[in-house]
Symmetry: C2
Subunit: 413 residues, 2 copies
């Protein structure tokens, strides 16, 4: 496969911990065209850092894409660094300046002298038109590698890439790459791996197994000369893995757990209401990330204060006193009351200790009670979620949705 290196230029990426989203997006575009990204780099906007980065990239890749550092200010050093790598002068393009002046005039933007920096390019580099902003891109061939520089603003960069990426990758050399992800909830990484590791070595298949919060993610990548072959390889491997893992696999595509639950409920024409204490709205919010969730999600209560547990769910003070808010009877009552009061087929109650304080020996931080009420019965689970406050809350939401998913497909937890 042909190889790419993606370089995001920008001091804010290093100094203020800004996430670099450009290289991740570009990498996904190249994947689809059968080009492999071998490195993603975020680098300070100065030639002493950019120059060695480009040189190393040229050594390992057929295509190098830089984003950022093409603005009109003195902080923007990508043009200069590129000229140094090429060992060519940075030339002023009078025609480009005239064109930029016309573009500014057309939208009644005042022209400032520093804007003329955007008309400079390493000798021999070609311009890539920017249909949105004033930072045109640059393209140059060097030592057998195509080097492309694009602006860092995503709304400018994305259409520029989309318009030309086919040329840069080269149609003749493409291999087909298809990806799939299987997710498993409530089983350890080692236990999952033991069941499927003999399937890793199939030809054209690459498997990556990773633990996320409360789940294990199996990434499967299939590469072949033709797309049909890649898809066949991929499907055969996924099917074999799913046969081994059974009901533990909760998703075999990019749908979220909430999306899967929503689809199962929609098929059955059933609805959900939730009553949340420690997750305080997060389960409702996660359920409604899915467009169209109004078909199956009704709403519910956030009962953070104990008075609201009494008032909305009718839990009596004696129960709260005896068992505490994070307890089985409270979870059960929340699930049952929210189901009937909000007119839903299923009710979920969540209560627990999210931390960082409030834990005790009996009830440590991470202890969560989840109850699921249907017309016929109420089930209850006690679970310990790992991590910090957000980890416990997010883990509890995933756990609760997985309880409902398993109830809907008849797979025991």
């Amino acid at each position: 496969m042909k190889r790419a290196v993606l370089i995001a230029v920008g001091s804010e990426l290093l100094r203020f911990g800004r996430a670099d989203t450009n290289t991740v997006w570009i990498s996904a575009q190249l994947d689809r065209l059968g080009m492999e990204t071998v490195a993603r780099v975020a680098v300070l906007d100065e030639p002493a850092a950019i120059v060695p980065t480009i040189r190393a990239a040229v050594e390992m890749a057929d295509l190098v894409i830089l984003t950022g550092g093409l603005g009109p200010t003195e902080d923007d050093r990508t043009r200069e660094a590129l000229a140094q790598v090429l060992e060519r002068p940075l030339e002023h393009d009078a025609e480009k300046e005239a064109e930029l002046r016309r573009r500014f005039a057309a939208v009644e933007l005042p022209w400032t002298e520093r804007q003329a920096r955007q008309a400079r390019r390493p000798a021999g580099a070609r311009w890539i038109a920017n249909g949105v902003g004033s930072a045109d891109g640059l393209l140059v061939d060097h030592a057998g590698t195509t080097i492309v520089a694009l602006p860092g603003v995503p709304s400018e960069m994305k259409p520029m890439l989309a318009a030309h990426v086919d040329d840069w990758v080269g149609v003749s050399s493409r291999q087909a790459v298809v990806l799939s992800t299987l997710r498993v909830f409530g089983r350890g990484e080692a236990a999952v791996e033991a069941r499927i590791s003999d399937l890793y070595d199939r030809p054209g298949i690459d498997v990556t197994i990773l633990s996320g919060p409360g789940e294990v993610e199996i990434g499967i990548r299939s590469v072949a000369d033709r797309r049909e072959t890649a898809v066949l390889q991929l499907n055969a491997t996924c099917d074999a893995m799913k046969a081994r893992l059974g009901g533990d696999v909760y998703v075999d595509d990019k749908r979220s757990l909430a999306g899967i639950v929503g689809d199962l409920l929609t098929e059955r024409g059933e609805t959900l209401a939730v009553a949340e204490s420690c997750t305080a709205g997060l389960l409702a919010a996660e359920s409604t990330t899915v467009p169209g969730s109004s078909r199956w999600f009704r709403g519910g209560w956030v009962v953070y204060a104990n008075e609201l547990k009494q008032q909305l769910a009718g839990i009596d003070a004696a129960t709260l006193e005896r068992h505490g808010a994070a307890s089985e009877p409270v979870a059960r009552r929340l699930a049952e009351a929210v189901r009937t009061d909000c007119g839903a087929d299923w009710g979920i109650g969540v209560t627990g200790i999210a931390g960082p304080t409030g834990g005790s020996e009996d009830k440590p931080v991470g202890l969560v009670h989840v109850a699921l009420a249907s017309r016929d019965a109420t089930q209850h689970w006690r679970t310990l979620r790992p991590g910090d406050r957000e980890g416990v809350r997010r883990g509890s939401v995933a756990f609760a949705l997985d309880c409902l998913r398993r109830a809907l497909i008849g797979s025991a937890r």
Copy 2:
């Protein structure tokens, strides 16, 4: 300032879009010690990609830290790549193997032959003990640069780094670096910049201005020989900016908007309840991300289905029919009803069109009505939030919290 390059080795980072959290975390540790990270790299786990990456890193940095690729399997190639860069053989350390065998025996883990790979090191490299797992780290000096290789598992890497980072950075060479972030909600980037750009060029000060979802973030970095000087420089610049920006600045540290609102409410001994339609629990969940939020957050309703708007908030069918669910009267009634029913000092109601469907010419996707009820009065805002479904929902939550923040400090929107 001394300079570092951080390299995360792992094919999953490139092939499955896994976020690399290790280099971001390490970068923050080095910041505190006055060492600048000039590049963060995620690279495929193979020598053809790792070797040129390390070489470029050595060229630009005093310290290079690699994470990942130290496991016992054939995918783990960091040791081998490091030996290639050093042009030294990869040696087997019999003593290390004996030690690893003892560690395995102590926890009753079976020893497999491939485990012995973890006892290999480039000639002359020193071991860095791993107190948690079996992947010990490596340290070597090369061409004036210190190169460190650590395991990729965060729970193993972090204590190893913490134990040694002082030695690697070198105490004598340190400069003090302090950072601050100002956030501004509801003003454009250009408008903010126009008010503060003349403050950018102060000595020792670096300013980065960036737009986030619905907000502008101003990053200020101050560098000096002594910490006191850096702090003085930073405070003077922040104070000058805050004087220019007034009530538009909503946070001058790492507290979230919910944290700021919570602190303001706690000071006054007041409480909040929320009723959410389009945000469906996200405002409640965001409020309770802050530990100790039970002091000021009571709870509320998720009224996703219109029946629940009627049933819980007492909104009559005629109002819903005439104005629609995403309307001023519904927002007002939600805020007022949830405030009184949940026994809070403040009530917020949010209703709108999160999309992607459900928009019309009159009521486009992104239209959100927010109402804020107090004992004395109810205020209402109509806003258009940009972005996709999640962007609209998250933007609405930030908007609603900022409305309450401004009401609490007496700053008009």
